[in-house]
Symmetry: C2
Subunit: 211 residues, 2 copies
């Protein structure tokens, strides 16, 4: 169905561009292209403008590096949030996920990725230097540096652990409290299906039962 013969170079270019997106195959791309062709020109204009402006006009918060419409994002400029806690995450989606839990009321720091030698991403490609500056400033200005908490909310794989460890080494000297997300069985998880590492950590980090 998706041989290399396209009736039009314009169509081929559009299909190539759409199918270059992650998780979109040639066949879906062709369907999307033909769908867009059937829409009014204003619809397609609106689409390309919304996508184009996202890339060209996007700003990042100068404090936490989160996507923002202003120089400082809505979270960093929210006076009601706890300014002594910084939650360090890999990307924008993680901030949105944590915000949606409604359980966190501090600030964030978006690394923009994770240390991954195999993908050629080192500490200098991330915003770790900026995090260290922020942490140092907070620690200096606080009555007691241990009032400042940095939560390492990175994924539990090797890259995540490596990045957490690297950040810990960079900031622990400031005397701040460094924590990481609790690991254990998921809510509603069945013991029978938990992997050994997860179950092992759940036992080692067991908590006082609070009925």
């Amino acid at each position: 169905m998706t041989g290399d013969r396209y009736p039009s170079q314009l169509l081929k270019n559009a299909v190539d561009a759409i199918s270059a997106l992650p998780g979109v195959g040639k066949k879906s791309a062709l369907r999307l292209a033909l769908y867009l062709l059937k829409q009014p020109p204003e619809y397609v204009c609106h689409f390309t403008e919304a996508v184009g402006r996202l890339r060209s006009d996007v700003k990042y918060c100068r404090e936490c590096m989160m996507i923002s419409d202003n120089d400082v994002c809505s979270i960093c400029s929210d006076k009601s949030r706890n300014r002594n806690t910084i939650c360090v995450v890999e990307n924008v989606m993680d901030v949105m996920s944590i915000e949606n839990t409604g359980q966190y009321h501090g600030l964030y720091h978006v690394l923009g990725g994770i240390i991954s030698p195999i993908d050629g991403i080192g500490p200098s490609d991330l915003t770790i230097g900026k995090l260290a500056e922020r942490t140092e400033k907070l620690a200096r200005e606080a009555d007691d540096p241990s009032d400042i908490e940095v939560i390492l909310a990175l994924s539990g794989d090797v890259e995540g652990e490596t990045t957490s460890f690297y950040i810990y080494r960079r900031i622990s000297g400031f005397g701040v409290k460094v924590t990481s997300l609790a690991r254990g069985l998921g809510f509603g998880d069945d013991l029978e299906y938990a992997d050994e590492m997860t179950l092992g950590r759940s036992i080692a980090n067991r908590q006082i039962f609070k009925p």
Copy 2:
């Protein structure tokens, strides 16, 4: 994960535009938007330009109404093709599917849809008038109108059958041969799993066995 709180209006606009595409949910749209954000600006420019130009610069062949870069498409202007056979299809994708079989060497006619009262699509919304003109002209210019064949290659559902019947009524008066696609068991299909309608038609339209 996809609550309604976006950190940026630009991001929200892009996610809304992407998730308006058929088969793309909010979560995939957010992933695609964040993917585009990580690409170089030229990549996103190329993407929006390819999609935008498809809609703004697209041409349709004045003969068969197929997408084309020129006034007459590459199939209609190919002298080696059989000009006495017109295969009538619903859309551009159908032309590409049939071309990929390599079994057809005639011309096409793209209807641009199918008669569907429930969607408010009547005969006048399609290129049936144009097909009738083409057929009449071919029949008039041929030594014998029955040398001209119009193949109705529409889907086998109610809308497809209705459209086929409507077209048949419009063009049968010109004395041309009107055929439709063979219906029957698919290649490699198991008798046991065939539905009764398909199996029934396969028996009724049985063919001489050619070993």
